[in-house]
Subunit: 278 residues, 2 copies
């Protein structure tokens, strides 16, 4: 990650008040960043590619729901690099217009993932309320303004931004609900000694191909932190693999493993090395 730029522009998936914005604010807290709110993951990728923003922050994985598939697909297509990661604990709050009584709530708005993560809470507390899926937790909070007897599940930040009241906190059904965000840029980061590397590859469709592909990492005791398949979209049931491992691509044993893997692959792209989030 470049550290010279004093006031970088950071694009994020809006609207204002999403978990993505919370994560971006945290990551860039020591630099006077300007935040650029965009409407879709695709627009965030484009803004960084076209230089409208130096960085982009997008969600890549949730510890309960799994990967954000569209982010993986955009990483596959784009030439951007990952230069950082952010871990953010997802704390859902029940948010209402000031004056709305809990017993009167008939409809609950949120992003489908947030609704699904609070399913047990909602079933117990609002067995009869209708659940309405909207584009983001923040837009759920924003939409409340024009509604009666409605509640939204969203962030504390969104409640603050839109002047709403928090009725209850920590609604999530799982005790630990974390989302990983990645920081996109034109280039990745320098080694820090506590790094991670992400890459994408595809193997030939022959027995044992994936086993062979993992061998360069297993034989060097490089710890894989994630491996996941996604459709290549070119031919049905052909996959590309997203893999992450501990170490920097410039570390000697990582560089050797990547080289060995490359010789076995039809396609390989290093997405970047960056400091691990703690």
């Amino acid at each position: 990650m470049k550290t010279k730029e004093k006031h970088p522009t950071v694009a994020f998936l809006g609207p204002k008040g999403t978990f993505t914005q919370q994560a971006a604010i945290k990551f860039f807290s020591k630099r006077k960043a300007k935040f650029l709110e965009l409407e879709s993951l695709q627009e965030v990728f484009e803004a960084v590619a076209e230089g409208k923003a130096t960085y982009g922050v997008v969600p890549v994985e949730n510890s309960v729901e799994g990967s954000v598939n569209l982010t993986l697909d955009l990483l596959y297509k784009s030439n951007l690099k990952i230069c950082g990661e952010i871990l953010e604990e997802i704390k859902h709050s029940l948010i209402v217009n000031r004056g709305t009584d809990k017993s009167k709530i008939k409809v609950i708005l949120s992003h489908p993932q947030a609704l699904s993560q609070c399913r047990t809470y909602l079933d117990e507390n609002f067995p009869k309320a209708k659940r309405k899926e909207v584009e983001s937790t923040a837009s759920a909070v924003r939409k409340l303004k024009r509604m009666k007897n409605a509640a939204a599940i969203g962030t504390e930040l969104a409640a603050k931004i839109y002047g709403m009241k928090i009725l209850e906190k920590n609604l999530c059904d799982w005790p630990q609900n974390l989302t990983r965000f990645i920081v996109l840029s034109q280039s990745d980061s320098k080694p820090t000694g506590k790094d991670k590397t992400s890459l994408i590859f595809s193997t030939k469709d022959v027995p044992g191909a994936l086993h062979k592909a993992l061998e360069p990492f297993a034989s060097r005791s490089i710890n894989l932190t994630k491996i996941e398949s996604r459709p290549s979209k070119e031919k049905p049931w052909e996959y590309v693999f997203f893999m992450e491992f501990e170490g920097h691509r410039k570390d000697e044993k990582c560089a050797e493993a990547i080289g060995d893997l490359r010789s076995l692959c039809e396609f390989l792209k290093v997405l970047g090395s960056y400091r691990r989030a703690s």
Copy 2:
């Protein structure tokens, strides 16, 4: 799969007219099946577990969008077996109320996956129309009845069921868009010589664990057709792997490979063996 029962009850993800129903009708075409329309994937699993239905048909993977995460999560939790698979080509149609003019369409309804699969078509033909996400392609078609200047993306079956008009066919941006459905039951199927087996496992989080787990299959030249990680939901960044390979669990070399894998795993569950769809 039991072949004795003459008029099995087949639960599927409704409403009527979804691709899931099309797939179920195709798979059970030679048996006078009774179809049971249910509202959620969870209800389909429950209906089969409780014996209200002999079979359940649910989508598991799309060749463009990837896995249906909720289906994988339900397979992980349930004790049901997979006894069959169905491949269905997804052909999206633009559907309207009779009398609606193409130039007047201001809103387009469908399931988020269908909207995303027709993105290029929609951008070119309806750059200004609002896109509205609903629960299923079939409910999009059903909702048209009460709307003006609206269109839905859905199946030909749904257009027929709800008495609507098809304006255009084959809207999908990709030439080949297939969805795999699985047939759930209390038990899996007998060997046919053209089988596939699905299982779930988790390894210890040590370097090389996944590489070791694949070794029993690679060394026996058993072809993996799919491997995918999902969060275990118990601890952040702990994964379970969904794996599929060619062969029946009772085939000698498959049985040996499963046995070897079991000895390396913290957890392993065979989801079933079944005849491959062509």
